[in-house]
């Protein structure tokens, strides 16, 4: 794995805000159980190069196109090298997105036990609270990314979930 890569994941930003009665530095279990839900002891991430956070737009597209409704999107990114150094194993896998050209940008954090999941949670919390490594896209921005991808033939409307496709189509018609 390259060292200058970030692992990106969709979260719900508000869940990671420090909240009483927990202390400032503590991580609420609700944030972990909601945003870091594992399947087969693995957790899905998209990758993007650290040197060019414009690449984050590609992850936005990959995730938004795989959605079934256009909502705002909160993304967090954590340093891949640090995560691996802390004992979390990564395995490349094909991402679930209708944008074919982005599927290779997906990895799974695998073999997660409670300790490793806690490690990932700490990375996510530090990224959000201490490093500003998160970004919120409004519904409007998500729609813009999808419309742009359709217009440039990177994404086909029929490949989107039905309701999302209709909304993108409506948005394109209004332009």
């Amino acid at each position: 794995m390259r060292s200058d890569v970030y692992l990106v994941r969709k979260v719900a930003r508000a869940k990671w805000e420090p909240r009483a009665p927990l202390a400032e530095a503590e991580i609420g279990a609700d944030a972990v159980t909601a945003d870091l839900r594992t399947a087969d002891n693995a957790l899905s991430f998209w990758t993007c190069a650290a040197v060019d956070l414009g690449e984050l737009d590609e992850v936005v597209l990959a995730i938004a196109a795989a959605s079934d409704r256009p909502d705002k999107l909160d993304l967090v990114w954590i340093d891949q090298e640090s995560v691996e150094r802390d004992g979390v194993a990564l395995r490349a896998s094909e991402g679930r997105t209708p944008v074919h050209g982005l599927r290779h940008r997906h990895v799974d954090a695998v073999g997660l036990d409670l300790t490793r999941l806690g490690t990932l949670a700490r990375h996510v919390a530090e990224a959000i609270r201490g490093k500003g490594q998160w970004r919120r896209l409004s519904k409007n921005e998500v729609m813009k990314a999808l419309k742009k991808a359709v217009k440039s033939n990177r994404l086909a409307l029929p490949d989107l979930a039905a309701a999302l496709g209709r909304e993108v189509q409506r948005g394109l018609a209004q332009e």
Binding site: R13, A14, E17, P70, K139, N140
Partner: protein
């Protein structure tokens, strides 16, 4: 007949003022009978659409329980449809006034902020033309809650409705958490840019 906004706002205000007086036994888990008694006591304002039917709490309780069960079992995720979306939509179409009362109690007394936030997000997923008239005032009240997840969900719901009333509500809001306030400002800039 429908409940006018001012009457509902007044009813909500009365409910808020009266809640501390209620005993714990009259909480969200109360029986339908206790709910009925509470609502009758707390809502001297007539709710014409409910006359001749069961009282609001009795009407809504089973569906409300189902809604909470569905949301508790499977967390609601941005960008992903949820079974609760349809349940709440049907419930509001059939019994908007009863849902107003029940959701008002949930907002003020619900102990699980994440669950309340999920319910608000669900509400935000309603087609804007199907939003009941208590919708925007309800979200305005949600914006005043202490828990950021609840406020954030209210911001998102207002964003999704994207009506003049919802943006006016956002314009009045001042959030104590900088990133959420910044997001509200960004949404309003988007609206202004679109003209």
């Amino acid at each position: 007949m429908r409940v006018f906004g001012a009457e509902l706002a007044e009813a909500i205000r009365r409910l808020r003022e009266s809640l501390p007086k209620l005993s714990r036994a009259e909480g969200l888990s109360q029986t339908a009978e206790a709910s009925t008694a509470s609502c009758t006591r707390l809502f001297p304002v007539k709710v014409p659409s409910l006359e001749g039917r069961s009282t609001p709490a009795m009407v809504a309780q089973p569906e409300a329980d189902r809604l909470l069960e569905v949301l508790s079992g499977d967390p609601l995720e941005d960008g992903v449809s949820h079974p609760a979306d349809g349940i709440l939509q049907d419930l509001i179409l059939e019994k908007a006034d009863a849902v107003a009362i029940w959701m008002g109690a949930l907002l003020r007394r619900g102990r699980d902020a994440s669950l309340v936030a999920a319910m608000i997000k669900c509400l935000g997923r309603l087609d804007p033309c199907k939003v009941p008239e208590w919708g925007v005032p309800y979200l305005e009240e949600a914006l005043r809650r202490a828990d950021i997840e609840v406020r954030d969900a209210a911001v998102q719901a207002l964003e999704l409705w994207a009506t003049p009333a919802s943006f006016a509500t956002l314009r009045r809001h001042r959030d104590p958490v900088p990133w959420l306030q910044e997001y509200v400002q960004r949404l309003l800039r988007e609206v202004d840019d679109r003209g």
